[in-house]
Point group: C2
Chain length 303, copies 2
């Protein structure tokens, strides 16, 4: 007697994510399929998905430099729904627009809620790593979706550092990250503290060191995300001036733009380590296994 | 006795549309207000609208190079709804993604429907000019919205040509445009015909002239949109080889990308004329008055 095998879940990805998609598909036992993408001379894009899809489809897309990618997700998700998919999961190791979570001045777009609702309208589940949530307590508030799953890069970054630095002290560049830094440090019983930061512009920040003794210590500036590198550069200069033996940087999301690496190097920073949530030369920690485990738990609940 | 005046409708626009927005606001008796836009180094954008808005708000945005603009519209429209707006009109002189109206191969995203539904979810009315609709008969099919209003650049382009060419013959570069060409030509009783076109790629097209005598005639290649310029360039070469006295080009949407103007000039084309639906050096016809009249009719129906 023959029974038709259930069609394995498919992992859809784009051409620029071939390597991470191949790894994730292998780890999570998914069938990888590349979305065909054509960019017209006028800036429009055309997408083609496989002609038939299983009930559960996962789309892998890290949402750094997000605007065009969000339109691609709109096209891909709505098309998948017409090809047999009933449950659609977004794996966005980096989730965009999570920082504008209130209107700081009247009239400002609260892009966290708007983009969150946009994604919730397209997907049934979202899996992400260290989203930048400050004034909301759960990802579900920002992305009101059936399953809003948050993973963290902190444990693996902490393990990476533990293997390379003697009794390091973890320093967070701002108070917002205090809880996250504590979690990363406590895994190995490391000392930790956070700076105070006042931001005057994209590249103008004022940093004050915490009231701890850093003289002779291996310090590591650790955060969920770094962009221009100016905040960590300023903190590094202060740490070195205060006698720190070394300053390295570890971030989940290497969102580094423009001359960020140079800015950090000029400030005396030694190593820069990141997870592979955003592809970057500094990637040293792979989140593939962690994401694959989350997908396995999700699939188990689906059947 | 005092009565509070009704708050005049507002025309929201972006910094790169200051001139057309100022003209449209004056012609349509709207209060122009610029959306504040900040682009972060990581590619995210932050928008700020006026802190309070009237019941009817119009957003002006021509959707050439559409992807980032569509995300901006998502942010702006959803924010306007929180600031007092109950009726939201999009004026998109050029509407993007109208050409992919079916899945030519299984799995293709039917972006016309998907983007149309996306816009319909944000706005109550859309006003556009010469959308590229072929297999659907009304804009409402593509953008299922309360009011889907289609205007045409053909009458004003026809008038412009009538004032500058003796007994011109209007030639459409492909059969899809036959009806539109006929409308433009009939306004002044001009001869008209259409070529046959087979497309092999973005820049590879095969064109066959219609069976009409063009020797000694002032011909004008006229269409709703031109992008790379390759189709009209090929048609122009054939027309000149067949003895046409001159070939000019008139389009509603000057979507010209890259070296399009050079390609057309090299093919022997004389003048290139367009409406201001997409800002371009070839703009000679303003659609402001036509759009303002449509807005006035719309406002009348709202009160």
């Amino acid at each position: 007697m023959h029974t038709a095998p259930l069609m394995k879940s498919v992992l859809l990805h784009f051409d620029d994510d071939l390597d991470p998609a191949t790894q994730l598909a292998r780890a999570a036992n998914l069938t990888p399929r590349q979305v065909e993408r054509h960019r017209f001379p006028d800036g429009e894009i055309k997408l083609r998905l496989p002609g038939t899809l299983p009930a559960h489809v996962v789309i892998l897309r890290s949402l750094n430099d997000p605007n065009a990618k969000l339109i691609e997700l709109l096209l891909a998700a709505q098309t998948a729904r017409t090809l047999g998919t009933t449950y659609l999961t977004l794996v966005a190791p980096y989730l965009a627009y999570m920082r504008q979570d209130i209107a700081f001045r009247p009239g400002e777009a609260v892009s966290q809620r708007i983009v969150g609702q946009f994604l919730a309208g397209l997907f049934d589940a979202v899996i992400t790593v260290d989203p930048h949530l400050h004034r909301v307590t759960s990802l579900h508030e920002a992305v009101p979706i059936k399953q809003a799953i948050v993973l963290s890069g902190a444990p693996l970054l902490s393990d990476w550092i533990a293997a390379r630095r003697q009794h390091p002290m973890f320093i967070g560049p701002d108070e917002e990250s205090a809880q996250w830094i504590a979690m990363a440090a406590n895994r190995h019983g490391f000392d930790h503290a956070v700076c105070r930061k006042v931001r005057h512009g994209d590249r103008a920040v004022e940093v004050t060191l915490p009231d701890v003794t850093v003289r002779g210590r291996c310090t590591v500036l650790i955060d969920d995300v770094a962009s221009t590198g100016h905040s960590v550069a300023r903190a590094a200069e202060l740490l070195l001036a205060a006698g720190a033996a070394s300053v390295d940087v570890a971030v989940t999301h290497a969102l580094f733009s423009g001359d960020a690496l140079q800015v950090m190097q000029d400030a005396g920073i030694g190593e820069v380590w990141s997870t592979d949530c955003i592809a970057h030369a500094s990637n040293v920690v792979s989140m593939t296994g962690t994401i694959a485990e989350a997908l396995a738990r999700l699939e188990q609940n689906l059947t």
